[in-house]
Symmetry: C2
Subunit: 252 residues, 2 copies
């Protein structure tokens, strides 16, 4: 339910904000723990698995952790001067795009290290397609947002109506990109679990529900939690300026 800026509303926002921070730090730290203690670690190396682990960590940092922080910063700092919030939002976005770009390069390079006799194939899986769409939309969102909400401030009055019209789309696409990032991350985690926890050569079996399975699933659960809480915080929680029913919806 909607929460206005009453003290109860602020407390509720604080609780949800804390939970989402825990989920973001949780997904990242649990995955790093899994990579270090249940897998072979991560490195930019000729070891395919290690480099794929690096890819996964960078993608979780870029798409889940930093992307989430950049959205939350607007809700957290709503009383600060808007231009400062925008600049922080942009800086986190730049860090996020950097992590995603390096993560993509790591995956492409890791894909080239195949066993002798096998052929190299790039971007054939649904996981990579979702990731590509999410990264493409993320880059587009950054360019459009940067030009519209920062560059166009140079002619503030002339462009304010355009920016007001663009903002709801910017917010919707931000949440869409986050949901696609969760699709890509969870499908990637599932590939890792199915591929590596196969019960062969002394490895645990994904089905047997040992610590390795629980941690992988817990990382996924953090992301599911974020896919539920973040849209709620952005759309329905905290400081209220407008009675924001989506277009066409009206109560009777």
């Amino acid at each position: 339910m909607d929460n206005s800026s009453s003290s109860g509303g602020r407390f509720f926002f604080g609780v949800l904000f804390t939970i989402s921070e825990l989920l973001m730090f949780g997904s990242l730290s649990l995955f790093v723990y899994w990579v270090m203690w249940h897998d072979t670690g991560f490195a930019w190396s000729k070891n395919r698995n290690e480099q794929f682990n690096l890819h996964a960590i960078l993608m979780i940092i870029g798409f889940i952790f930093l992307n989430g922080q950049s959205m939350l910063v607007y809700k957290l700092l709503h009383q600060c001067r808007k231009i400062y919030v925008k600049i922080i939002h942009t800086i986190i976005f730049v860090c996020s795009i950097s992590a995603i770009t390096i993560g993509m390069v790591a995956a492409i390079q890791a894909q080239q290290t195949v066993p002798p006799g096998s052929s190299v194939r790039h971007f054939y899986s649904l996981h990579s397609w979702v990731g590509l769409v999410a990264a493409g939309l993320f880059a587009l969102q950054f360019v459009v947002g940067f030009v519209s909400f920062l560059i166009l401030l140079c002619c503030d009055k002339a462009t304010s109506s355009f920016r007001a019209k663009l903002l709801p789309t910017h917010v919707t696409f931000g949440l869409v990109i986050y949901s696609l990032a969760v699709v890509a991350s969870i499908s990637g985690l599932l590939q890792v679990a199915r591929g590596r926890l196969n019960g062969k050569e002394g490895k645990p079996n994904y089905k047997e529900f040992e610590e390795s399975t629980i941690i992988i699933n817990a990382v996924g659960c953090c992301m599911i939690g974020l896919a539920i809480i973040l849209p709620y915080i952005i759309r329905n929680c905290g400081q209220r300026r407008h009675h924001h029913l989506p277009s066409g919806y009206h109560v009777n």
Copy 2:
């Protein structure tokens, strides 16, 4: 960008509505085609793969197709009497929940048909966890929505303020559930692709990009398209009643 109820806005809504219908029918028919012509078909039988195919089809019908239609009906029929639209929305929801329930039973039963010597394991994978969360939220959304927006109409005036407050949350959770449904569906498709298109016993290899791979990925692409277009239609497109910036966002 936002579209008011101008003729241009209506045309734009029509285009997006047509695309989303194509994507919903496309995901379902392409997957049925894949099951019939590239796999062993579907049946409620002792054949594990056939029953999992039935599970997948029922889940796509319930979570992607009918769930999408029930959300779009509000935007399409915004000029009809609200109570009729609510009833249609509810009927489609009931069909959707029925398909999802039967689909879940099909999966649980199929999971029990394991090769001799193997142990039966239920709900161990991340795919099943996401599916469970999505189905749980879907059931909750249905119960809360049914009670609040239909039953409470019996004391219309006394509850209108409560319903007005609940509506934005109902809409947000509708879109959250749809995004979780896409996560579950795409991770499920990827499991099917990795598990069955393994290049063994004359089966195609997922990596080799033959027709079987392309169709599975095309089903996933339809779902990605829906995860992008549906939130945009619901939030930013068509008949506009309110200037629906999310809470706390304001242009300057």
